[in-house]
């Protein structure tokens, strides 16, 4: 059952819950945490906040300029927590939340170690190489970890590596005047990841079914294709003219996937917003400063589209069959 909180509050606002019984209704409806829920929540909160803060502490520590510390001491100091984390992982196992938390911390610390090696030995590596090697180094852990946040971190590292690669070689390849190419690369990367994610989740990988992580990737993919469509609409320099057709394809695919196959109203809401922005751009670009009627028409079109979109999204949520609304 989806979170019943909003529904019970709505009934309370309509006066359908007896006065003074709202809290009792929320408890009866399972909307409020009980003692076991609280214990689990605090356990996870302390574990994850503590672990992430320790990992960040190590990264901050080595970002400080340690002139007086020897190179071996530095490397030893960052390797020790990684080894400690791996030892803990061996003892705890991946089935326990604490085991997964230390694996995540080890993945973060690996980046610190790689940055440190680059700093000490002046390897001459570009920044994009740091993130690419970091992603490659933690890939085996990501594969065995069965942890959605670790995959999101891995994908974020790949995005960073690709972006920095294009920024580094932009002048060489003449891409600096064609940022769309970078956007196309990132769009391909994130869309591929999204398709793989949903396919694996559908194939039975239970731990990939947490919707928040797939939604993060869908947001990246949708934002990029919307931006590419806008470059076509405004015919910006070096526009590929593929943005608008592929945006249409993306919208159709998103509708089929998230309306017909797997109901996820979050992605549909993103699609509605994307459509409003692109339509506003299509009509708006031809408006002149003195075209009062055009501005009024466009304002009303946007208001009408968003109202219709909101009504449609709510009707999808209220459909008979449940889903990831």
């Amino acid at each position: 059952m989806a979170n019943p909180r909003d529904e019970i509050l709505d009934w309370s606002e309509q006066g359908r819950i007896a006065p003074g019984r709202l809290r009792a209704a929320l408890e009866a409806g399972g909307a409020l945490p009980d003692a076991n829920d609280w214990r689990r929540f605090l356990d996870r909160l302390l574990l994850w906040m503590g672990t992430v803060m320790l990992a960040c502490s190590a990264i901050f520590f080595f970002a400080f300029n340690w002139a007086e510390m020897g190179r071996l001491a530095k490397i030893g100091l960052v390797e020790a927590p990684i080894l400690g984390a791996l030892f803990l992982l061996w003892r705890l196992g991946l089935e326990r939340a604490s085991g997964r938390a230390v694996l995540f911390a080890a993945a973060l610390l690996t980046g610190g170690l790689l940055a440190l090696i680059g700093q000490i030995y002046q390897t001459g590596a570009d920044t994009w190489e740091l993130f690419a090697v970091w992603a490659a180094a933690i890939l085996p852990w990501t594969l065995v970890g069965r942890l959605a946040p670790l995959w999101v971190l891995w994908l974020a590292l790949l995005n960073l590596a690709v972006s920095l690669y294009y920024l580094t070689f932009g002048f060489l390849w003449g891409f600096v005047f064609a940022p769309q190419r970078l956007m196309w690369m990132l769009f391909g990367l994130n869309t591929g990841a999204l398709v793989a994610w949903e396919a694996c989740a559908a194939a039975g990988l239970e731990w990939l079914r947490e919707r928040w992580s797939a939604r993060v990737v869908a947001t990246a993919s949708g934002t990029l294709i919307t931006w590419l469509a806008l470059t076509d609409v405004f015919d910006w320099r070096s526009s590929s003219h593929w943005g608008l057709p592929l945006w249409l394809g993306w919208m159709a695919a998103a509708y089929a996937a998230y309306r017909r196959w797997l109901k996820d109203v979050y992605v549909l809401a993103g699609g509605v917003l994307s459509a409003i922005v692109v339509i506003a751009a299509l009509f708006g670009k031809s408006l002149s400063h003195s075209d009062a009627g055009g501005f009024l028409f466009m304002g009303l079109v946007i208001i009408g589209l968003s109202a219709a979109g909101g009504w449609w999204l709510k009707s999808v949520i209220n459909e008979q069959d449940g889903g990831a609304a």
Binding site: S12, A28, L300
Partner: protein, 360 residues
């Protein structure tokens, strides 16, 4: 929530004698947060075109501050009327939002012109009053969230402008906590409380994550918001954040009927103290943690998610904040991280895992 699950929930409450009669129709509260975000963004976009229409049709108005103020006021009044005449219409709600945004923008531009030399204090007071009036008069959830956010940010601006910016996170977090902790107590005013609470939550996130960052630096550089009272007042401001977080945990424990000396109480207070102490030098931690915990306590996933996003955002921002060295930040994070993991071990002793039935 689907119709089936709604019906199941209604039946469950009916069996507990908490509701009577037939299942009501799905209302606006069934809209999840992302639909409201979409509607809010689209309303803002529509307002830009409506402003374009006013600018193109009545060029003279944009050249005269008093005309802008009058027209802006009329637009806001029209928005109030639209919402009150057609409270159930999706189209009219969006139209009202866009008209209101356009009206507010015209009032702000008019005010800026009236004050000639840009004065942040007068500007913030006027904006706060405008948002407060709209918050009360406009009977729409999304509009109220945005009005509360605008008023709260104006209030934060005034606190900063008075040179008390060390108190800004504590003040905005305290206001946020008060609203959410009484959410179930004043059920008749629930829509107002929740709309105000979300606005304050977003303002608390912005204030805590960006604390010491871009906009404070901008204000200080303009000669406004110079710290008042020197170092001592700064420490008092940070101390206020600790008190707010500990106070929130005490209020939460009392609301749930738990003794402060119980296992749950000791764990909660211990965690609040650790995070509060960390906030003395990392002032975004306490407000973000407060949002997360209160969100969870009220069964509000959106609020809890906002708290997690605020914590992660603050940690990222903290790396770049210039107040202390990376070495100090590293030591602070290490001490806090170890203390939190230690508290988790202590929790397992004070509050052993058991099949409890009472609410915590």
């Amino acid at each position: 929530m689907s119709s089936t699950t709604r019906a199941m929930l209604w039946d469950r409450l009916a069996k507990a004698s908490l509701v009577e009669g037939a299942l009501p129709e799905a209302g606006e509260a069934a809209s999840p947060w992302f639909i409201r975000v979409m509607l809010g963004f689209a309303g803002w976009l529509g307002a830009l075109f409506l402003l374009g229409f006013v600018g193109a049709a009545f060029v003279a108005i944009f050249r005269d501050a008093s005309s802008m103020l009058v027209l802006g006021g009329l637009a806001c009044a029209a928005a109030v009327a639209i919402y009150r005449v057609a409270p159930k219409s999706d189209f009219m709600a969006q139209f009202g939002l866009a008209v209101s945004f356009a009206g507010q923008a015209m009032i702000l531009v008019g005010l800026a012109d009236v004050f000639k030399r840009f004065n942040p204090t007068q500007f913030a007071v006027c904006f706060m009053l405008l948002e407060a009036v709209l918050f009360v008069l406009v009977p729409n959830y999304l509009h109220r969230v945005l009005s509360a956010l605008g008023a709260a940010l104006a209030a934060v601006w005034l606190i900063i402008d008075a040179g008390l910016f060390a108190f800004a996170p504590a003040a905005i977090t305290a206001a946020f906590l008060v609203l959410w902790l009484v959410e179930f107590k004043f059920e008749r005013h629930g829509p107002l409380l929740r709309a105000g609470g979300y606005g304050l939550a977003i303002a608390a996130v912005l204030t805590s994550v960006l604390h010491g960052g871009l906009w404070l630096g901008w204000l200080v550089s303009r000669g406004h918001g110079q710290p008042a009272g020197g170092e001592a007042v700064q420490w008092l401001g940070h101390g206020a954040s600790v008190l707010v977080l500990v106070g929130a945990v005490i209020a939460l424990l009392r609301r749930e009927g738990l003794e402060l000396g119980s296992g749950q109480g000791r764990v909660g207070l211990c965690a609040a103290l650790i995070l509060g102490l960390a906030s003395l030098k990392a002032p975004g931690v306490a407000p973000a943690a407060a949002i997360l915990v209160v969100g969870y306590a009220n069964g509000n996933r959106v609020l809890a998610g906002l708290g997690i996003a605020a914590l992660l955002g603050y940690l990222s921002h903290y790396y770049y904040s210039m107040q202390t060295t990376l070495l100090f930040k590293s030591a602070l994070l290490a001490a806090t991280g170890l203390a939190l993991l230690g508290a988790r071990l202590v929790m397992h002793r004070w509050w052993p895992e058991a099949k409890e039935t009472s609410h915590a």
